[in-house]
Symmetry: D2
Subunit: 105 residues, 4 copies
Amino acid sequence: MSIKDAQYDVHKWVQQFKIEYFKPMEIIAQMMEEVGELSREINNRYGPRTKKSPEDTADIEQELCDIMFAIICMANSHNIDLDEAWKKKMDKQYGRDKERFELKG
Amino acid sequence: MSIKDAQYDVHKWVQQFKIEYFKPMEIIAQMMEEVGELSREINNRYGPRTKKSPEDTADIEQELCDIMFAIICMANSHNIDLDEAWKKKMDKQYGRDKERFELKG
Amino acid sequence: MSIKDAQYDVHKWVQQFKIEYFKPMEIIAQMMEEVGELSREINNRYGPRTKKSPEDTADIEQELCDIMFAIICMANSHNIDLDEAWKKKMDKQYGRDKERFELKG
Amino acid sequence: MSIKDAQYDVHKWVQQFKIEYFKPMEIIAQMMEEVGELSREINNRYGPRTKKSPEDTADIEQELCDIMFAIICMANSHNIDLDEAWKKKMDKQYGRDKERFELKG
């Protein structure tokens, strides 16, 4: 599946409803909710109040997709092509970090 | 470009360095930084201290990819296949929300 | 009640237990959980999926205190006197913002 | 200094300007910016890209106050008395957690 497909999935889903995309501030608030839920999962697995086995990653998986959904809503509502944007990011990242961390021997 | 490709991009990038993936808590902190930077962009465009035109979405684009990078680091370090996870999410989303918002006429 | 009292409340509470303060990264993750819950409340009151009356602020109140609790844990575990820090902040804020927003006539 | 004083500090500061309090969604976005900056400090001190000494807590101090400022803006704009809210929280916390973590011997 391509990133474009995922952007189209969200587009189709939103198109069903009268509401259209949330406003940018609302998407930010939504994203914060989801990042908060991921934090809870991570804290439950790796934090001091350990409640869950680190092996059980089902919820982490779904929380990551919930954040991705919010990212794609923000991208779609700004006509951002994440595929192009990602390529730009990777170019920048390789340029920037090549002297930032120690390379393998 | 597929989501798998993006996961592989990050894998290749991390493989260059001695550091390996950050620990889950560190990735969460990293993700929070990036969500904070996206919030700043959104506030600068749509908030009360408007500094930037809503038309200029270059930074939003890059902030979204920075969050995606953190998501993929979390996914890769947990052997999560985001492609599969996304399909599960979309199935759930369609099931759950079909009676949640008002459908178009 | 003073800010020092609140810092002491948290100190006393933590002192009961064997766990001591969480590590800084764990407190950050905890703070993100609480900020996410506040976002949910704000979205439920003011966002597109309105579920609650904006008049009912009981949960907002508690979420704000949950974030304050995390702030105080971070402060206490770093021997930070929030009272002093707040005074410094207010001095800076007055200096910085006096020409930033339009003053009342 | 009391929590009421801090709430009054923010009240006085906002009263200077025409803008009044930001809207709740804008305060949430502002809070996320500040929490993101705190995360950066924490990551810089305790994370894998260590840049700063854990002893140097000056920035942590100020980031904590920036988050407190956002909390107080949210409280003030909802007529929430944080002093009262904090007392309620502490009562709840003591009730709830007394059997949650292991007590000291």
